[in-house]
């Protein structure tokens, strides 16, 4: 279990994380979302022990992480831009990782190499961006970590590779109780693979929980009127978003769906229909509700 207690981090005078309290249960796949510059990468780098929190505590299974090799052996952090030694090959990188991670699994490495067509003895700097990402993931998964931290690591992969990886990770979670934290802007992907999700905004975790619970808490309702009405009539719902097209409104709101529908029906609409809402829309409307990107 990853436990963050009142974690804060500043870079010079800029506060990036402000008293974050957050828990990631063992064996879960956590999606980390948030606007650009929200602090997602910083959070992952603190969990992996790359940087130290200014205050608060970060533990994995109750043990501190920063500069603690025994704990860090069980964690693998794959940054958004994978690192490879200068002029190195995949084989050399394997040797590099094997030095530090006794858990490095040659069988897993071979299996992954069969799934991902990466030439083992070619210089990595000649690879395409997608191949480099695959190379990074091969190495990361071969380490067999208990905690895998992926910072936008799926970006740049083609759909087939993405799917293969998702399956691979899902299997590992089932087999080994691996904990995965994935930060990404691609919420459609997170929705497929993650069972929990957290939203970081304004230096804090503002929303965290099961994907299904979160999705059950946000609703998109289409409401039509036979007469002309103003969008202000939905104000009592504290909507995250209201769109008007003629006399038809599209309202996004949080709360119990029954209560919301009942309240809307009291407005005598000609039409009331609940529409499906995906995670990406929830993120967009939630962030809009917080003023992010609203002016554009």
């Amino acid at each position: 279990m990853i436990q963050l207690t009142s974690v804060s981090k500043s870079f010079e005078s800029k506060l990036v994380l402000d008293h974050i309290d957050w828990t990631v249960k063992k064996g879960s796949v956590f999606g980390l979302v948030g606007p650009n510059g929200a602090g997602k990468s910083t959070l992952l780098r603190i969990i992996s022990g790359v940087i130290k929190a200014d205050s608060g505590q970060v533990t994995v299974d109750g043990e501190f992480v920063y500069d603690e090799p025994m704990v860090k052996r069980r964690i693998l952090f794959l940054a958004d831009e994978p690192f490879f030694l200068h002029q190195s090959t995949l084989r050399e990188m394997k040797e590099f990782y094997k030095i530090f991670y006794p858990s490095f699994d040659e069988t897993m490495y071979s299996k992954l190499l069969n799934n991902f067509p990466i030439p083992e003895n070619e210089k990595i700097n000649t690879f395409s961006k997608g191949m480099k990402r695959q190379t990074g993931l091969i190495l990361a998964l071969s380490v067999n970590p208990d905690v895998l931290l992926l910072d936008e690591s799926f970006d740049g992969l083609d759909p087939v590779m993405r799917l293969t990886l998702k399956r691979f990770i899902s299997r590992e979670i089932l087999n080994r109780d691996m904990t995965v934290v994935i930060s990404s802007h691609n919420l459609r992907e997170l929705e497929d693979i993650c069972d929990q999700i957290a939203l970081i905004d304004n230096r804090k975790v503002v929303m965290s929980g099961d994907v299904d619970t979160i999705k059950g808490d946000f609703h998109k309702i289409q409401v039509g009127f036979s007469h002309d009405v103003n969008e202000d009539i939905f104000a009592f719902l504290n909507p995250l978003h209201v769109d008007k097209m003629g006399n038809v409104f599209m309202v996004v709101a949080k709360g119990e769906i029954e209560g919301i529908l009942e309240s809307i029906k009291k407005l005598n609409p000609a039409l009331v229909t609940e529409l499906p809402l995906n995670l990406e829309e929830i993120f967009v409307y939630e962030m809009e509700g917080r003023g992010y990107g609203k002016t554009i």
Partner: protein
């Protein structure tokens, strides 16, 4: 604290680093091989023989390459510090940061030293096999010094890397940290030379030996004659420095703001501190250098140009640091503060006599001993031949209270002399005037003397001062003539006969060098050295400087300390050298008599009616030059205006013996009398002139007066007379 010193080397990672950098090691090894053993072999192919020099040159070359690789390797191994994504990986690795740091540092150490060690061994095995009598201990020491100082050169570069975010900035400031000690020393020396009267450093390389590891690695490895400070202690000092700075660097490594990687500086204080200090000392250096070069003395207008020159330099550093001009105004303000500080310090240091540096003369009671280097224009007290000094290194250390008092008094006289002329306005070149302090003729005093005094105080401190002054200000030092130190300088082989392996020439001449008798095989050299030294030291300064006894003979002695290190001296004896004469007599040596001279002897006659006329006042067998004829001519005195001419007579060979009772040598005359010039083919020292000048005692005046009427008196300038003697 214990945690600070506990770390573990990750052997697997160390091996990985060595394997990854094997190509660099091979390249370095090839370059070193080319410049050491292959260079020696090539030289052999050309010359057909081996010499030590080419092997020494090879060792210098591989040490230069070692230093170069010290600058390169940290950037190969610690390059991950300059990339955010690399840092993310390295610092996420399950290894403690201190372990990662020390393992990488050890890797750097190994990558630097493995090729050097291999080539050093190969080159020197080759050296052993072709050069006889190799000093093995010296080679081991050289290897030890080069290895011992490697860490101390690496750590300043690492320190720069820990405070910068890019490789370029790391390299730039690594270089800057290494050259700062040299510039600091240069600033100190130029400031002292330009502004501080009497400025001198006790050991010119001492500061850099302790401040610059690059200087020290070359100095310790190749200056094989250094005995103080002890090279081993200096190497231990640098090992300690390397270890301490390794931990300082570790501290900065652990607090390094990795999020600022790829930016010029990860530590916001690094650039202001380093660039300000660097600019400050460069300003100081340039102020002093421009004052010296201008030759205008202390003129503050001279400082304007270096001020603005450093302004441009600082702005360039600022623009590089900020990657643009966005902080230009702040840079200008910073520079204004630095400039004000440096100008203020420079001005105060100058106006207040270097805060007492100039006027300080230690009290005799505080002085344990004094080292004196003194080169008067006549070479009367000291030799200045470098070659002689190399053959017989002489340290002139005065411990006698009376001698110390004499030196301190001379120091005070010098300061009084400078005070009288307002030395701050003195440009360092214009001839200083002097008031004669004795009854010797004033013309004698205008020649320059170089004097350097190093006081060793009871407290252990040293005070060194150096001056170029008129000879007249230093004539008190002539009283040191009967000291053992002067004897050591005049006759180093007699002062240290144990160092002499053989005498290639050991003979005695008659007083005018016309006839010689060998002493080799007749006179025991060590007994001779002892007897002569005893005789010499028994004479007081008056007896040395104004001898009243004619010389009886001149011993020609060439002593060698090795195959090609020899020194020649002409050693006069007269009746006062009783022990020497006794030894010669007991050894069966009869003093040779005067025979025919090689050329016609000339006598320069004193001209009592012409005060302007130049004359010889001082005579020595030891000086670099026997006299400065033209300078003696004194326009301010009454007499004929025909400058540089003297009266002389040519004496027939058969009449010259009449002068023998009056000839003196190594003497200073109280007044103008007469001089006998003869030519000799015997080379008594490294003088170029074949002439010997004998001063004639006052008692010779009646005889000279007689000859004035007996022989034709001619008048000519001195160089023409010398040509006639030829």
């Amino acid at each position: 604290m214990a945690k600070l010193f506990s770390f573990r080397i990750n052997g697997a990672y160390l091996r990985f680093l060595l394997k990854r950098n094997s190509r660099f090691m091979i390249l370095t090894g090839i370059a070193m091989t080319v410049l050491f053993p292959i260079l020696a072999f090539t030289n052999y192919l050309i010359d057909g023989s081996y010499n030590q020099f080419v092997f020494t040159t090879g060792r210098v070359f591989i040490l230069i390459l070692l230093v170069l690789s010290i600058f390169i390797v940290p950037f190969l191994l610690f390059s991950y510090l300059n990339s955010k994504k690399n840092l993310d990986v390295y610092h996420a690795l399950p290894i403690k940061r201190r372990d990662l740091y020390f393992t990488t540092l050890l890797g750097a150490f190994a990558i630097i030293l493995i090729p050097y060690t291999l080539v050093f061994i190969i080159g020197n095995v080759y050296y052993f096999s072709v050069i006889p009598d190799v000093d093995t201990i010296l080679l081991i020491k050289q290897y030890y010094f080069s290895v011992a100082l490697t860490l101390s050169i690496v750590t300043p570069i690492l320190f720069a890397m820990m405070n910068t975010g890019t490789g370029v900035d790391g390299l730039l400031y690594g270089l800057l940290l290494h050259i700062i000690p040299s510039i600091l020393y240069g600033a100190y020396v130029t400031f002292g030379s330009a502004v501080l009267l009497g400025f001198s450093v006790a050991d010119p390389s001492l500061f850099l030996l302790y401040a610059s590891p690059i200087w020290a690695i070359f100095e310790l490895t190749f200056n094989t004659t250094r005995i103080f400070p002890n090279p081993m202690l200096i190497s231990l000092y640098w090992i300690a420095f390397g270890l301490i700075t390794s931990w300082v660097v570790l501290y900065f490594y652990q607090i390094r703001r990795s999020e600022k990687a790829e930016e010029p500086f990860t530590n916001k204080w690094f650039f202001p501190v380093i660039s300000s200090f660097f600019t400050f000392i460069v300003q100081f250096f340039l102020y002093s250098a421009f004052i010296t070069l201008s030759g205008r003395g202390l003129d503050f207008r001279t400082l304007i140009f270096p001020f603005f020159l450093t302004f441009v330099m600082y702005l360039i550093l600022d623009v590089i640091a900020n990657r643009g001009f966005k902080h230009l105004i702040r840079g200008i303000i910073n520079f204004a503060i630095i400039g004000a500080l440096s100008l203020g310090t420079f001005t105060f240091g100058t106006l207040f006599d270097g805060f007492g540096y100039i006027t300080r003369v230690p009290d005799a009671s505080n002085v344990e001993k004094v080292e004196l280097e003194y080169y008067d224009p006549y070479g009367y007290l000291y030799q200045s031949y470098y070659y002689d000094q190399t053959t017989f290194p002489v340290q002139t250390m005065y411990t006698d209270a009376e001698d110390i008092e004499t030196i301190i008094n001379t120091h005070k006289i010098i300061l009084e002399g400078f005070k009288a002329i307002d030395y701050k306005k003195w440009d360092g070149y214009t001839e200083l005037t002097s008031t004669p302090r004795t009854d010797l003729d004033s013309s004698l005093f205008q020649q320059s003397s170089n004097i350097r005094i190093v006081y060793y105080l009871n407290s252990g401190a040293k005070i060194a001062r150096s001056y170029t002054v008129p000879f007249g200000w230093t004539t008190d030092l002539l009283n040191l003539v009967n000291s053992e130190n002067v004897f050591k300088n005049r006759y180093p082989m007699l002062a240290n006969p144990d160092a002499v392996v053989r005498n290639t020439v050991f003979e005695i001449f008659d007083p005018l060098m016309s006839n010689a008798v060998t002493l080799s095989g007749k006179v025991n050299f060590k007994l001779f050295a002892s007897a002569y030294k005893s005789d010499y030291l028994s004479l007081n300064e008056q007896q040395h400087n104004q001898p009243d006894t004619p010389i009886l003979g001149i011993i020609n002695l060439t002593s060698c300390t090795s195959t090609d290190m020899c020194v020649t001296r002409g050693i006069p004896i007269d009746a006062r050298y009783t022990q020497t004469l006794s030894l010669l007599a007991s050894s069966g040596v009869t003093l040779p008599a005067l025979t025919t001279l090689e050329s016609i002897p000339f006598i320069i006659l004193p001209d009592a009616t012409n005060e302007k006329a130049p004359f010889f006042h001082i005579q020595s067998l030891f000086g670099n030059t026997d006299f400065y004829f033209q300078e003696y001519y004194d326009e301010s005195k009454p007499g004929p205006t025909e400058a540089g001419t003297v009266d002389y007579v040519e004496i027939p060979q058969e009449r010259i013996a009449e002068l023998l009772p009056y000839i003196r040598i190594n003497a200073i005359s109280k007044k103008a009398i007469g001089v006998l010039i003869v030519k000799t083919s015997v080379v008594l020292n490294e003088r170029n002139t074949p002439h010997i000048y004998y001063l004639l005692d006052e008692a010779a005046l009646p005889l000279l007066q007689q000859w004035r009427s007996e022989f034709e008196v001619k008048r000519d300038n001195f160089s023409n007379i010398l040509m006639k003697v030829e």
